[in-house]
């Protein structure tokens, strides 16, 4: 039991900073940037929470974690209680604690943020989850009563893993089908080691398999099996096969050697471990000057990866300004500290190459911001006569993805929207009864935590559906 502190003392504690690997040092390695709170820092930060009765932070969380409750446990010195509370609400807290855009969610709603800094909820979540993992034996692992129902989950990414974790708790027999050779989806192919170490994902996956979730890798739904085939074998399905096909700029020269989609660049480095060359077998081109086109989290991951692979100059090429960037604030700051060069208000027109079609540069226009467009962001406009060439030897295109048609093309009964994403009702159920969907295949490109929220909600809806069936 910790000594209680007065409300005044509580308000005087300032937000604790996340200990980080030195910016210069880390820009040359793939080790995690954020080092995590010590128990002491966590206690201090937890004491900043004023335990609101009507906690807005909970409403700000896509998986509705009871934040004040687990933070209270920390201040009470009951870390095991904090872990049980947190894991009860969120199947993958050591992942969300690292990759969530907290500033827009829980922390964005925190009352302490009105005057000053919000409670560092994400850092506390990560602390509790990491503590529980290294401690072991803290969480309840009693097997639930088998329900006799079989559920198939398509895709072992954040939505699928979350749904599987929730479904297995209810005693369902859960099998995940994963197209790649390793479970994790974007958590293993997309998000780099320095932001989310692969051993953390592996530990979370291991916890699920120990709880009874079966994972079959190398099974491509839409090819190895179709949805109608699975539907005949399972009582319910959850489709969470992810975003899919990368979008290109559609400019001349885009197929030159040295132009990557961010998906390929990151997959080579993360899933295929090219960051460890020459000890691994999958190559990636090491650019001296790498231009990453885009302003989202994927672009930040790609440009920081390029820096770590040894780029002398790693550049973000973005047609608006920093204010309009969809990337998390923390990622942009980390990139800046690591020496990433931001080419803002710049839009590529053409990829230039030599006679052997190796990339030599990007022909670009300079832009200025005009009137706000439909999204409310000010629309970038070309400054006439501003053309210039940005020299580079690798280009990474990180401007989004579109729905992968592999699965949906082999299941004509599945209702899609005009972009090819699966349509669902408020419960996440598709046009086929008993078939649910969530994550990027429904939302287009979104975040890990929104996918996890979909997984949690779908699991709840699947339970309801199975009880009625």
């Amino acid at each position: 039991m910790q000594p209680t502190i007065s409300a005044k003392e509580r308000m005087q504690i300032t937000r604790q900073a996340m200990p980080e690997q030195d910016a210069h040092e880390r820009s040359g390695n793939f080790k995690e940037v954020n080092l995590g709170f010590s128990e002491q820092l966590a206690l201090l930060e937890a004491q900043r929470c004023i335990q609101c009765k009507e906690a807005k932070c909970i409403k700000g969380c896509p998986v509705m974690v009871n934040i004040p409750r687990f933070i209270k446990c920390i201040t009470d010195g009951d870390l095991a209680g904090a872990a049980r509370s947190l894991f009860g609400d969120n199947a993958l807290p050591s992942i969300s604690g690292r990759v969530c855009p907290q500033e827009e969610q829980c922390e964005g709603s925190c009352i302490r943020g009105v005057k000053g800094q919000p409670v560092a909820i994400g850092y506390l979540e990560r602390f509790v989850a990491d503590w529980a993992r290294t401690q072991g034996g803290v969480l309840d692992t009693t097997a639930p009563v088998p329900s006799g129902k079989k559920v198939a989950v398509i895709g072992a990414g954040p939505a699928g893993l979350t749904a599987a974790g929730e479904l297995v708790k209810q005693g369902h027999d859960v099998t995940i089908y994963e197209a790649l050779h390793k479970p994790g989806g974007v958590l293993v192919y997309g998000i780099p080691e320095f932001r989310l170490p692969k051993k953390i994902v592996a530990a979370e996956v291991d916890r699920l398999t120990k709880a009874g979730v079966k994972i079959e890798c190398n099974v491509v739904i839409g090819r190895t099996y179709t949805i109608p085939e699975l539907r005949a074998q399972f009582d319910a399905l959850f489709i969470a096969n992810g975003a899919g096909l990368p979008v290109f700029m559609n400019v001349p020269g885009e197929n030159f050697k040295g132009v990557y989609a961010a998906n390929e660049y990151l997959t080579r480095v993360n899933l295929m471990e090219a960051y460890d060359l020459p000890n691994t077998n999958t190559p990636v081109l090491i650019g001296k000057r790498v231009a990453v086109v885009g302003g989202g989290n994927v672009a930040m991951d790609a440009v920081r990866t390029a820096k770590r692979l040894g780029a002398e100059q790693a550049m973000i090429v973005y047609r608006r300004t920093k204010e309009e960037m969809p990337a998390r604030v923390e990622e942009v700051h980390h990139a800046e500290h690591e020496g990433v060069d931001f080419q803002l208000l710049v839009a590529p027109l053409e990829v230039l190459g030599d006679d052997k079609r190796w990339v030599t540069g990007l022909k670009c226009n300079r832009m200025e911001l005009g009137e706000p467009d439909a999204s409310g962001r000010r629309k970038p406009q070309v400054i006439p006569g501003s053309e210039f060439v940005l020299e580079c030897d690798v280009v990474v295109v990180a401007i989004g993805t579109k729905a992968n048609p592999l699965l949906t093309a082999t299941c004509p009964d599945l209702k899609l929207n005009k972009w090819g994403n699966i349509e669902t009702d408020a419960n996440g159920m598709t046009s086929i009864p008993g078939v649910f969907a969530g994550g990027d295949i429904v939302r287009g490109a979104a975040t890990v935590i929104l996918a996890m929220g979909d997984g949690k909600n779908a699991a709840k809806a699947i339970n309801g559906y199975l009880e009625q069936a």
Partner: protein, 277 residues
Amino acid sequence: MHTILAKKQLSPNVTRLDLLAPRIAEIKKPGQFVIVRAKEGDERIPLTIADADPTQGTIALVIQAVGKATRELVALEVCDAIRDVAGPLGHPTELISSGRALCVGGGVGTAVVHPIAKALHAMGVHVTSVIGGRSREWVIFEEELAKCGDVIVCTDDGSYGRKGFVTDAAKEVLETGGVDIAYAVGPVPMMRAVANLTRPYNVHTIVSLNPVMVDGTGMCGGCRVDIGGETKFACVDGPEFDGHKVDFDLLADRLSTYREFEQRANACADGQCKIRR
């Protein structure tokens, strides 16, 4: 895990492996491929399925040992297992149900032509296969293709069959008339030559492209090819395309992207490289 049940050396650097993959054996169609990793840490490589035996639950992969990953695959023996086999991927071959087909295979591509010829023959199509190699020992799948129709073998040095390139023999077949469709699988220059050959005869020609691929499910976009001025992903839009529309120069160019890495990896594997990197 996918246990290898049979192994056969087909030519000096081409090996056939028959391995357990019951689901793929059951549903695969001609033209489809699998993504394979021999063991943890290996590169993912796409390989077209050369044959399948659904009753035994096996598929046949014909592998040309050129890089580190393929060399590791062919070093495996019967009873060894392959860690990852994902598929069947890609669209099945566009087949005709009657008439006459010309099937041209070069080198290891002959193994890919085989399931196409087999399917055509089963539907009653008259198949003429033209296959080639540098010399006698490099000619593969002759016996299997002979069961599907006529076979003309060409060798560069004349040590077996006719002396010359497959295009010379293919031209003679086209000249006889009546060819409704052509299929060509082999090295890029061969496919390009066959596509150029059939163009004046207005014979629809299908080629199977083998660009660099990572996931094989459309996710990475690495296997971009230019088909009639449009960018397509070979893994989900192909791997077979209209040979008259393929930009073969771009394909050949993109295939050379990792040549330096490959040479270094091979040198290391041969023990020629004293220092890594």
